[in-house]
Symmetry: C2
């Protein structure tokens, strides 16, 4: 047998198009359900929640639930739509609380909810969406789903607290940081994927395979995000860079540059990120140190490693359009960095 080289995929930049196309009808149903379920007689709630939802984002997490359910052959109902909505509500609640905790003024380039509405409604509407998500799961009625998503929520909160502790701590190890990433980001990707297998009533190995895929694609996603925050290309495109730097967040590019640097460089990291004493051009200096030590490239190299695990985890599934779109997603997440 010869080896078939897909010239197309080698020529094109990977996109989310195939995945988006495959779930587009389902995703529209999710969007309608989101609007319906965030309704409340207390109109500030739909107002604020609507702001977040309208602000968009890629809806990556609910798309994972929808696509995973389809790959597992689920076709007899709309449970995947309801559960994808739960996943998005948990994500939105987390975003609302994150912005309060990070004191962020911007979210995806728009004014964040806490800037527009204040911290107080952001905390409380987050709580509302979180509760509403559990109400929706209860309506669905699967204790397995409830177990997966309540556990994910607890782990997310743990990851966020861990991130809070490591902020400004330049001695944070790569292992500790990976725990933060798994908690705050990857756990929900993992749960989103796993739930797809659960609604389709597939055997445990498939649940676990999809969870592994989600966990690893989540790590890829976060590591690439960390790289983009220091990316010169992003800066040229007019996108915000340096948020993590200004907040003193210790991400993998920092960890690598810190450990590979000399004492003078470490003093720089301690001053800027440890003590948050930042001057003009410190961000440029940080990017230069990262470039000198290949910290950004090697963060991407680490991301590719997790991407490879994600790819292999899908090996037990038959070839099909969804599986191919899941492969594309790995490439897309990594290529975002360029």
């Amino acid at each position: 047998m010869g080896v078939v080289v897909n010239l197309d995929s080698e020529r094109k930049r990977p996109t989310l198009d195939a995945l988006t196309e495959l779930v587009s009808t389902d995703l529209q149903a999710v969007n309608r359900l989101i609007v319906r379920k965030m309704d409340s007689p207390v109109i500030l709630i739909p107002q604020l929640a609507g702001h977040i939802v309208a602000a968009g984002g890629k809806r990556l997490r609910p798309m994972l639930t929808l696509a995973a359910a389809r790959m597992c052959g689920y076709c007899e109902g709309q449970r995947h739509v309801a559960l994808a909505t739960c996943v998005e509500f948990i994500h939105t609640a987390t975003l609302l609380h994150d912005d309060v905790v990070d004191e962020s003024n911007l979210r995806r380039g728009l004014a964040s909810a806490n800037t527009l509405f204040g911290n107080k409604p952001s905390v409380l509407v987050g709580d509302f969406l979180f509760s509403r998500s559990f109400e929706l799961m209860v309506e669905d009625g699967s204790l397995d789903v409830l177990r997966i998503l309540s556990h994910a929520s607890a782990v997310i909160a743990e990851g966020e607290v861990l991130q809070l502790i490591t902020t400004n701590d330049t001695e944070t190890s790569e292992t500790a940081y990976l725990d933060v990433v798994k908690g705050k980001t990857a756990q929900l990707f993992a749960a989103a994927c796993r739930v797809g297998a659960v609604v389709a009533d597939r055997p445990m190995v498939e649940e676990e395979a999809l969870e592994t895929y989600g966990m690893n694609i989540g790590i890829v996603y976060q590591l690439v995000d960390d790289v983009l925050d220091y990316s010169a290309t992003q800066a040229k495109l007019g996108k915000t860079v340096g948020d993590d730097f200004r907040e003193g967040k210790i991400t993998l590019p920092v960890i690598l540059a810190f450990r590979r640097g000399d004492e003078r460089e470490r003093a720089f990291w301690r001053r800027t990120l440890g003590n948050l004493e930042q001057r003009d051009n410190d961000l440029e200096q940080a990017i230069e140190l990262m470039t000198r030590h290949q910290a950004l490239e090697d963060t991407l190299e680490r991301a590719r490693h997790y991407g490879a695990i994600a790819r292999d985890s899908l090996g037990i599934f038959e070839d099909c359009p969804v599986k191919r779109s899941f492969h594309d997603l790995i490439d897309f997440c990594i290529e975002r960095a360029h």
Copy 2:
């Protein structure tokens, strides 16, 4: 048949002693489970949660679940202990978020968690406890319980948002305020009681009777709290008064005084609570206006009304020690005001 007059209960001041005594073994089990379930490798979580739990409080809500389960004849297991713990976790999560939202420095006379640990951990540990509570419910495995408590959580968040909107709005109506009270306080009391009937697998009428009891005792509890915040007696005892006043919270004593006052008095309320322009002696002046219009007395009168509904809701249950302790609780909640 003669009427038995219980001279004892006429002589004594109502206490929580009977209720506390009845559930004391169960409550110790709850306290142990709380400590075990708030554990996490991220040590800031048990530290902060431990602060709240150690700070005490009366554990009124979990006691309601325990006692309701006993009144309904539940005796074959420890489910009521697990679910009472869920109720307390939801309450603790709410307290943590409340203190952030209210910018409180004190909670029960001690430094609040947000003062000691900062707002950020308070938001995130609240999320953790909330998630942990749902994990515990899933372990218990009753979708009915999950339905009741996820719904209660959503209503609590709605009530808190509604309170945020009515803060500083001196035109708030008694009806709107009652919605706030039902949401932020009474809903969890109602759910705590109802869950007791659910674990005991009792018919719907008993579930509903206990829910009604909880809802109304919750309203009593909150209205009396509102009175205490303006109580001269409390001030003499060295307890904090005037927190609601300083924050511009519109509670029932304010609503009554505002509506019964003349234009000059309304100007006073608008200045102090609407615009938060407060001077020395404004709190004393507020208490004087309330006294002039019987606003505190009549808030208590309203509380007695809800107390009467709570009492009648228990009519379908046989006389038993728990039922009597539930009656005592109504009297205790009202007598707190004196």
